[in-house]
Symmetry: C2
Subunit: 356 residues, 2 copies
């Protein structure tokens, strides 16, 4: 049997544990995993693009466990009442190849992305940062806000979204969370006075959410919306003024903001900063950009964290996913067992009986 | 909700429908999919190797649906009472990126591999073939035998395995199926007089299950056990005497028997034969080899076939895998809803309370 965390169980676990508590715990797991970067089997995600979106598989392994995430990105989905991003993932045992846990990851991806952003900001933003501009107040916004309050000390938010309903939604949720929010009249207005700027928009195109004149010395930019070939958020001039930090070079070069730059433009992998192998922020007036696209190790961390948290609790169930006959070479016995002989079902009798 | 076919439901569907009926129906779907080869997004599978096995993801898409399979290969597993190969897979909607169906694929992979082998043999074996040698009588053996009886007209089997218990298991199952079986005293003995030779062994190494002297003119070799870099079954001399047919060049060059040959050694993709773009068997005395490693499109076919067969029947259930709030931008509402507020559970309170 394989542990299973469906949406209902994930909701109950998150609601009863609390988002801030999860983000704090997950950030410890994530720092641990980033510090042992060399142990992981790493490759860019495998993307299948269509005109309207992308479906991706994101596998990695530390040699003991293997994890992968299935995730889509469809910017037009909200107009049809659907999520832009949905996801699920599986954790498996490398020694046997058997899956261990299967989890919904739409909610979990929001938690892991927020955790990653805040972990990076602790290394890259000025330590006296208190104000964050949030450009894009969709799915990620509340999770980002709570992560930056919990891990970075952000007490004040300045928001902007081209969709007024998204800002209203955010203000409503933020009020219940006790977050201090200023609703800006433009992106320019939102970034004014901000120590940190988080961009989290979903267009599948080369957009310019931030222009060069919006960036002042000392700011940290947390750019999480640009995460596909041909999908960016920042004016390339910002990148030329900044020190750029990324997750995994091979993937970010084709998916991140730096797809706008020469292939040899300097960019530092975040794990190097965590391990002390490369500097993070070195001056108060430095402009730093975390060009985040989301990497498989972060999902591995999230799966590992959830599995440790829910195993043996009422927050997971089990599914019968592994066909395991008593004699391992006698798989056929599972489908020939006379105890299974049941009455024929017409519509399952073959393709010919089925409407395609 | 996502349709879910767990092991119990797969067993019931297969047992009540019957393996021969499924193989016949699935072969029609597979021929359809191979004939529209150009419509598919194709790439070699993504493998994560360890010392004891491999875990692979096999994605593909026809632009309307997307499918992937998770599959492991661990030759040492049976000694620990586990399956060498376990698998599961998902079918998704390209337009929304949402998953449609989740299925166990350990049993399903056995069915699709047997279907693929028999489909190839219909194109490549002599049409008067009646006798098949089966080298390796493990998990695949009964499925292969039924597929070749159903689709190719094989009425007589000559079996060999280095594990006597595996041969006894096969004889037991074969008797119940009414298959005529000769238990050979060696691989040499097994192939004597055979029209078709199927090799299906599981060592993760360069093995020589068939040597050149065992191959006579006119035989068709269905080589399905060699499917990893460094894992082969055939003496390279056999390949030099034969016309070689494969699934997908880019993958087979690194995984198949032809990894032993020069990179430009001729090999014909099977879909070309199906479409009439390349010849299959042209002479009775020709030696043909189907160097099969298993390709993502075959799994896509199998998922599509199962989904069409089980939807709306008692052979599937549903799982709650997609977090889908009423306002698609308000994912946070799913974890902040006060109706979800339940009593805290100690062991889920965070990583610190959990034994790692």
């Amino acid at each position: 049997m394989v542990r299973f965390v469906d949406v209902a169980h994930m909701r109950e676990w998150v609601a009863s544990t609390g988002v801030p508590s999860i983000i704090r715990g997950m950030s410890q797991y994530m720092e641990d995993d980033f510090r042992r970067w060399d142990e992981f089997d790493k490759s860019p995600r495998v993307a299948s693009h269509s005109n309207v979106g992308v479906i991706e598989l994101m596998p990695t392994s530390d040699g003991v466990q293997y994890g992968f995430k299935y995730v889509n990105g469809h910017p037009g989905n909200p107009a049809a009442g659907l999520q832009t991003v949905t996801a699920f993932g599986v954790l498996a045992d490398v020694a046997s190849g058997y899956p261990i846990m299967w989890s919904e990851m739409t909610i979990l991806t929001a938690l892991r992305t927020a955790t990653t952003s805040a972990m990076a900001a602790r290394l890259l933003a000025r330590s006296d940062s208190t104000t964050m501009a949030l450009i894009g107040t969709g799915t990620q916004a509340e999770f980002q806000s709570l992560a930056f309050r919990e891990l970075v000390g952000i007490s004040s938010l300045r928001i902007w979204d081209t969709d007024p309903a998204a800002m209203e939604k955010f203000e409503r949720n933020a009020a219940a969370l006790g977050l201090e929010v200023y609703r800006a009249s433009s992106a320019h207005d939102a970034v004014t006075g901000a120590d940190i700027i988080t961009t989290c928009t979903a267009d599948k195109q080369l957009a310019t959410v931030l222009t060069e004149d919006m960036i002042v010395d000392g700011v940290h930019v947390n750019a999480i919306g640009g995460d596909c070939p041909g999908k960016t958020e920042l004016d390339a001039q910002i990148l030329h003024r900044a020190d750029i930090f990324i997750e995994f070079d091979e993937q970010t070069r084709i998916e991140g903001e730096i797809q706008q730059l020469d292939a040899d433009h300097p960019a530092t992998e975040l794990w190097q900063v965590l391990c002390g192998d490369a500097p993070g922020r070195v001056r108060a007036d430095q402009i730093t950009v975390f060009d985040s696209v989301g990497f498989a190790i972060e999902d591995f961390t999230a799966l590992r964290y959830v599995d440790d948290a829910v195993k043996g609790t009422r927050f997971c169930t089990e599914v019968d996913l592994i066909a395991d006959p008593a004699d391992p070479k006698d798989l056929f016995s599972l489908v020939s067992d006379s105890t299974l002989a049941v009455e024929p079902v017409h519509s399952a009798g073959g393709a010919s009986a089925v409407i395609r």
